[in-house]
């Protein structure tokens, strides 16, 4: 068995959301659903000093993230039906729509907010790593879409070798919960997990 992983280069990402919208087109997702989302973290102040001059400690960065196809997925653990499952061959986590009851526990449990119940479709939906593309030798649509070349995908060994570290910047939780297959090269502005400066400031765009 192989285990696939995503890579995110925070020094290159500009927050353009091409990954998110390319995925939405390919997967035919409507308003309210996104398998890949782009979080903005902004911190610090930009204020005027006593001379009326602008002084800024402001920093900010974006994180593009889909399902991390974790080694210990929170979603599969709570799934009552076994519909949410981790594929034995690829390690990709996906939904068996013929089994899914649409209870939403996977959505609640996932600390990366990857799965969501689409009531119109009657089941949970999420990034499946574009498994049909991957088995065809391609990379997921989001990865090949990135104009800034900030995303990559491959076996976890290949991805870990790119020099990033495992999912350890804000606004992500510590990786110990689910052992995510997501490696990140942080930008200069990136804040550590749990930092008070690591808040995602664009909730409207990601919920």
């Amino acid at each position: 068995m192989v285990q696939y992983a995503f890579y995110f280069d925070g020094t290159r990402c500009t927050g353009c959301k091409t990954c998110e919208l390319a995925c939405k087109d390919y997967k035919d997702l409507d308003v309210g659903f996104a398998y890949r989302k782009v979080y903005e973290v902004t911190y610090g102040d930009t204020q005027k000093d006593s001379n009326g001059c602008v002084v800024s400690t402001c920093g900010g960065y974006t994180v593009s993230m889909a399902c991390n196809h974790c080694y210990e997925p929170a979603c599969t653990k709570v799934c009552p039906t076994g519909a949410m499952h981790k594929d034995g061959e690829t390690g990709l986590v996906s939904v068996n729509v013929d089994r899914c009851v649409g209870c939403g526990y996977c959505h609640m449990a996932c600390p990366y907010d990857a799965p969501k119940v689409d009531r119109a479709k009657g089941h949970s939906v999420k990034c499946d790593g574009c498994v049909e593309r991957v088995t065809n030798g391609e990379k997921p649509v989001c990865v090949e879409a990135c104009p800034a070349r900030a995303l990559d995908f491959g076996t976890v060994d290949q991805i870990a070798a790119l020099g990033g570290t495992q999912a350890n910047i804000a606004p992500l939780p510590v990786p110990t919960y689910t052992d995510p297959n997501f490696y990140i090269k942080p930008s200069d502005d990136a804040q550590p997990v749990g930092s008070a400066d690591g808040k995602a400031v664009n909730p409207l765009e990601v919920l």
Partner: protein, 809 residues
């Protein structure tokens, strides 16, 4: 060659993916001629019968006003687009050039099938601006449009016909309406653009034309210091092989220190906030003057360069007839001329909001670091003082002689451009009168008052007649992308002024609601089309129709052919050729000049042709030999003082605030002039400055109606926490932004990424107001709040020069 033959060329069958797109159902219904609700189909089930059919792919290009012109790879099944891919591959390395489409390009399927898409010719049945239309036949539409055209020309002459500025279609055959009008006596010309009026006007005075272009971004890989004024390369040109990719690539490859001077910590800075130098908007000229003062005081100016290559820096380099008048740039900076104020870093600090010590340290770095690459976007120039702001930024590398050398730039925007392709000949316009494009509503409202001295009228001293007939092809500049929408509405909705407006578009955007007749357009990727563009790398895209034309939509070329036929000039217009014939013959012409271009058939097969070239160093020839390679300026040199500006604006009717105190012309040097509605001219009523910016979710107003893009990219007013807190505004609150010109409603983005005292609203949101009611624009279009007063020299749109108040809704 028939369309079917072409459909089979340049396309390939691929095996069907394991799951099928719901859009197949739309195809089935659309083909049956029914009008269907797109929304219901996006969420609908998948017809099992379609699961086995094969998918084909076609190449096409984006045609909107972004140099990206991205490669679009349409996956088509049963004559319906099922998804939109781009030029990409799984094995592409960071250095491999691929014109990948941006988020908007990847959302084209939603626009193709948008509920706002125009399907049939229509005629207006309500008042102008109301947007009520009735379907008519093509015959009736063409007859009405051409009869009225002949009537207007007969009554008022050709100067009463106008094609307003528009940015919806770019391709080698995108200007057929101009060609038609030139065959029947011409039309009122325009000059300038809404993108670059001020910088395009001033640059020829400073650098001439032929050699004025900027360096490639790639050139900055050799720089040690990169200064970017008012630009967000990744937001403004998101897709393709243009500045988004080039900027990201440059930042990783260059060893240079980078500073980005902007009133917003824009998206291009994200992740690298140490690069951000926050500045009060509209004050870049003051910053440059303050830096100049430090450079002069510390002997860091390059006098050899200034005396050899420039005119007007100091007394020694002034034109003979202007010596002894204290009119040099040096006099301006050192307080020995003009306003007699010394432009010390302290002085600059009070205006720019940049601490004096920071200005000094920046000046020290500029004076001691080479190569220096100075770059500016087009934001700083789209202001009431934009001509002089952009000129100042060009003056900065001149002061230290960092022009024409490896790793440098001349302070203009980075180079862009693709393989040179010939365009459809539009003929010669027999009408010589020309107006600044920004003043078209004036030319509808009070044309006969407009002269060369008060409104930048060119070709004639004054206009004879107002605009009575407009062809608005692929444009949203009548209202939405023009300024002061409420005033524009009042002028346009009065059909006794402009008597007829022919609108051609793919969607019912705000400007289309003023059309008397509407014709349904095809996208360029629904027809054969070709385009070239590029940034560090040049490329060309040759596209085939992704599907057959749906409903009664036609290409612009077909529409014009029908009009030309009725006007008796069809043969002259077509030259006996179809549009595809034209594209091919134009391409053969291009190939005859550039042997590296592939054959037509090869171009069709490959879809995307990439042409690598060496990085361009701006003004290298001039630097190496300024006599042989003299510039087209009055002096042949770089002009930091322009006699021509003085003579050209002599006798002009200027308004308060258009120039420096004591001058009767506009300033002949790159001086700082406070904006009319700017950081120094806020009022108690409107205490905040308001600027616009390009937003990832739209390109101008294009895609402004696409729900999934709006969902991911909400329309927001950026406001600093200091200004928000004092107004009781929290993140995500609905707020009203208003000034004397109108009121908009949108969400608050409370963020330290914008300097205090400044509000930033992305331009291009679709105007959405009850124009017979309160006129509050719930779409949040910034142009509800922008002024129609033109900038002093260019007579261009100062759309970032605004003041406002913000309140919680």
């Amino acid at each position: 060659m028939s369309r079917e033959d072409n459909m089979s060329k340049g396309t390939s069958s691929i095996s069907r993916r394991s799951f099928v797109k719901a859009m197949g159902a739309l195809g089935a219904l659309a083909a049956a001629g029914g009008i269907v609700s797109v929304d219901s189909l996006f969420t609908g089930g998948v017809p099992v019968a379609l699961a086995d059919s094969t998918e084909q792919t076609t190449w096409g290009h984006c045609a909107i006003n972004c140099p990206g012109r991205c490669a679009l790879k349409f996956h088509v099944q049963d004559d319906e687009v099922v998804w939109v891919d781009t030029y990409t591959s799984s094995d592409a390395g960071f250095d491999d050039p691929q014109p990948r489409a941006c988020l908007r390009g990847r959302s084209y399927r939603r626009w193709l099938n948008s509920p706002d898409r125009i399907n049939y010719p229509m005629k207006r049945v309500g008042n102008r601006g109301e947007g009520t239309y009735e379907r008519i036949s093509w015959d009736e539409a063409i007859e009405t449009a051409t009869d009225k055209l002949e009537e207007v020309i007969g009554t008022y002459g050709n100067e009463a016909v106008y094609i307003p500025y528009a940015t919806g279609v770019s391709a080698t055959t995108a200007r057929p309406f101009n060609a038609l009008l030139n065959l029947i006596g011409g039309y009122l010309n325009f000059y300038n653009s809404y993108s670059t009026a001020q910088i395009s006007t001033i640059t020829p005075y400073v650098y001439g034309t032929a050699q004025a272009g900027g360096s490639s971004f790639k050139t900055a890989e050799d720089a040690k210091l990169v200064l970017v004024f008012g630009s967000s390369p990744t937001e403004t040109r998101q897709g393709g092989l243009t500045t988004h990719y080039d900027w990201v690539h440059l930042r990783e490859r260059t060893g240079a220190k980078i500073y980005m001077i902007d009133y917003r910590m824009n998206d291009s800075i994200l992740g690298h906030s140490a690069e951000w130098i926050p500045i009060n908007p509209g004050t870049d000229a003051a910053l440059v003057a303050g830096i100049g003062h430090y450079l002069i005081e510390h002997d860091l100016v390059n006098l050899d360069f200034l005396h050899t290559y420039c005119v007007g820096y100091d007394e020694e380099s002034m034109p003979d007839d202007y010596r002894g008048k204290n009119m040099s740039y040096h006099d301006y900076i050192m307080g020995t001329g003009y306003d007699m104020i010394e432009k010390t870093p302290d002085w600059a600090s009070r205006i720019t909001g940049i601490p004096a010590a920071r200005i000094e340290s920046l000046a020290e770095e500029i004076g001691t670091t080479a190569p220096l690459y100075v770059n500016q976007g087009w934001g700083p120039q789209r202001r009431s003082n934009g001509e002089w702001t952009s000129w100042s930024i060009m003056a900065l590398p001149c002061l230290v002689g960092q022009i024409g050398l490896p790793g440098t730039n001349n302070g203009t925007r980075e180079n862009s451009g693709g393989p040179t392709l010939s365009s459809f000949p539009t003929g010669t316009n027999p009408v010589s009168a020309s107006i600044p494009c920004f003043l078209f509503t004036d030319a509808i409202d009070h044309a006969t008052e407009m002269t060369s001295k008060n409104a930048g009228v060119k070709g004639v001293d004054k206009l004879k007649v107002g605009i009575k007939y407009m062809i608005n092809y692929a444009g949203n500049c009548l209202t939405n992308q023009h300024s002061q929408i409420n005033k524009a509405h009042d002028i346009l909705s009065d059909d006794s002024k402009c008597e007829f407006i022919l609108g051609i578009n793919t969607v019912m955007c705000d400007s289309m609601k003023y059309s008397d007749i509407i014709l349904p357009d095809l996208f360029r990727f629904e027809q054969v089309s070709q385009i070239s563009t590029g940034g560090d790398v040049a490329y060309m895209i040759t596209g085939q129709p992704c599907t057959t034309p749906k409903f009664e939509r036609k290409s612009a070329y077909e529409m014009v052919s029908l009009m030309a036929d009725r006007l008796g000039v069809k043969d002259q217009f077509t030259g006996g050729k179809t549009e595809e014939d034209w594209i091919k013959s134009l391409y053969e012409n291009s190939r005859s000049k550039d042997a590296t271009l592939p054959t037509w058939d090869e171009a069709v097969d490959m879809g995307v042709f990439i042409q690598q070239h060496s990085p361009i160093v701006s003004m290298q020839k001039f630097r190496s030999d300024p006599v042989t390679n003299a510039l087209e300026t009055t002096s042949g040199k770089i002009e930091l003082f322009s006699k021509k500006v003085l003579s050209f604006t002599n006798g002009w009717e200027l308004e308060e605030g258009d120039t420096l105190p004591g001058l009767s012309t506009v300033p002949p040097i790159p001086a700082y002039i406070p904006e009319w509605y700017g950081i120094e001219t806020t009022t108690d009523e409107y205490p905040l400055v308001l600027g616009g910016f390009h937003y990832r979710g739209r390109l101008h107003s294009s895609w402004g109606d696409i729900a999934i893009l709006k969902d991911a990219n909400p329309q927001e007013a950026w406001i600093n926490p200091t200004d928000a807190t004092s107004r009781g505004i929290a993140q995500g609150d609905t707020v009203h932004v208003e000034n004397e010109f109108g009121e908009i409603e949108l969400l608050a983005k409370v963020t330290p990424r914008v300097v205090p005292g400044v509000v930033a609203v992305s331009q291009g949101a679709w105007h959405d107001a009850d124009m017979n009611g309160d006129r509050v624009d719930k779409g949040g279009s910034i142009n509800t709040l922008t002024t129609q007063r033109p900038s002093p020299l260019a007579k261009g749109n100062p759309q970032h020069t605004n003041i406002c108040q913000v309140t919680r809704a």
